[in-house]
């Protein structure tokens, strides 16, 4: 029996009532994931925003733009496949993860490459970009990052991403965010109804 729907678009699909529970998803049917980093202002660091599911970096970029930057100003976006992020263990609250480098297993040296370095300094917050190092392995990158970026608060967790794995925006791409300020229909301020409500209430109480 075809399902009736109030939505004309759904009615046209002529959907049949589902009698079986035989829906099967194949592995990767929902595509692999990409981690997304956002820069809210030019003066601010890139910060981890979340993930998107996508087939390619370009597609990840489009989805990330919709998902994480359709509401607020944005000056840059990076995406990277989730499996290309190198992650340290989490340190306990008062400890600094950089103090544990000596206990980490040695790594074979490869070609020199650039790595972007991200820090987590508070649980519940997101990783922030702190800078770039050139190294021949993740471990060496971590050692160099310790020298350059380890200051102040204990670092709880570090992510390293080779810059060749990152898909980044450049200045010409910024035009994709240029229409944001015109889209006021997503702003609370566009839905002021106080006056109308006041008038209505006054009319209800003519002697008050």
């Amino acid at each position: 029996m075809a399902l009736d729907s109030l939505d004309p678009r759904i009615k046209r699909c002529n959907l049949q009532e589902q009698r079986t529970k035989d829906f099967n998803s194949q592995p990767l049917d929902q595509l692999p994931t990409y981690e997304v980093f956002i820069q809210l202002k030019e003066t601010k660091a890139f910060e981890h925003a979340g993930i998107v599911h996508a087939a390619t970096p370009d597609m990840a970029f489009l989805f990330a733009k919709e998902q994480f930057s359709r509401r607020y100003t944005c000056t840059g976006m990076w995406v990277v496949p989730s499996d290309r992020v190198w992650v340290t263990a989490f340190s306990d609250l008062e400890e600094n993860i950089y103090d544990q480098i000596d206990e980490m297993p040695a790594q074979e040296a490869g070609p020199e490459e650039d790595y972007e370095v991200f820090h987590l300094i508070q649980r519940g917050k997101q990783h922030q970009h702190v800078g770039r190092v050139t190294a021949n392995s993740h471990l060496q990158a971590l050692q160099k990052a310790k020298v350059r970026f380890n200051a102040g608060k204990p670092i709880l967790n570090v992510w390293l991403i080779k810059i060749n794995d990152l898909q980044t925006t450049n200045l010409e791409d910024h035009v994709i965010w240029s229409t944001l300020h015109e889209k006021t229909h997503r702003d609370v301020i566009s839905y002021r109804a106080g006056d109308k409500l006041k008038q209505f209430k006054e009319k209800q109480q003519p002697d008050g």
């Binding site: 009532e17 829906f23 595509l31 692999p32 997101q126 609370v188 839905y191 109804a193």
Partner: protein, 328 residues
Amino acid sequence: MYGGGNTFEATKFDNLAKEDPIKLDEFEARIAGGEKIEPADWMPVLYRKQLIRMIEQHAHSEIIGALPEGTWITRAPGFKRKLALMAKVQDEVGHAQLLYSAAETLGKSREDMMQDLINGRSKYSNIFNYPALTWADSTIISWLVDAGAIVNQLANSKGSYGPYCRALERICVEESFHLKYGHHAVIHLATGSKIQRQMVQEALNRWWPPMMHFFGPPDRISVHTEVLMKWKVKMATNDECRQQFLDMYVPKIWELRLSVPDPNLQKNEETRQWEYTEPDWEEFKRVINGDGPCNKERLAVRRMAEERGRWVRKALLTPDAKYVTPLA
């Protein structure tokens, strides 16, 4: 934002005695100290299971919740309303994405979540099994259902699981315009012609009983509930959420000279609690188990979307694609 994470039955109470007592102590101390739990941390099996279930059902509620309102996009009265409703529905679908991602960090793949939704093994907020018969219904959903969800979600955003809290914070910020838009649209109808007032009153009458179901039946206070509250998985009881909702929105309904279809609804000034006719929990059970006016349609639409898009996703997939659990 569509809540209802609290309205579903809990996972079976696992025996905590099986957990490593030292790790359990550390875990509980961390939560008691106001710290967040992150995906890589040790956590009890029950905590993981309960959170997957809650976040997944919340995500399903967002993606299914887009359907009753989506029904009115093509027939919204005027360009401004259409633009707003489209943006709102897009937000809801985006919220589903954020929540699915948070659940994925706990180790359940999105494929498995989709499969469980479509095969009826995993629930979503019961309120979306009812139809939006008129435009006024869609405005009542935008206003009151979103309001109810905000009550739920603000509570949950103070919970202990980092990725879920971050998703909820983002959702709550985006959500602020939905409530204003919904209220604006309801005020427009309620201060309009006689026919418009009648339309919005009838819609309110239709949505009131599901709205009273929305926060779920009164919680049975059990050891299980106590544990989940200690672990900051459950942040407020169903009745607390319902009372808060009534406190905030009944006066706003009354000031529009609309009536709530419950002659017993009143605030007891002594207890400072709202008194109301107990909603029909038998109907709630019947509908949540599949026998509501729209259950079949909601799942069939979701199944169609998944099946018709499958070949596109397959064609796009590169041979080296590999799934790893996302990071945070």
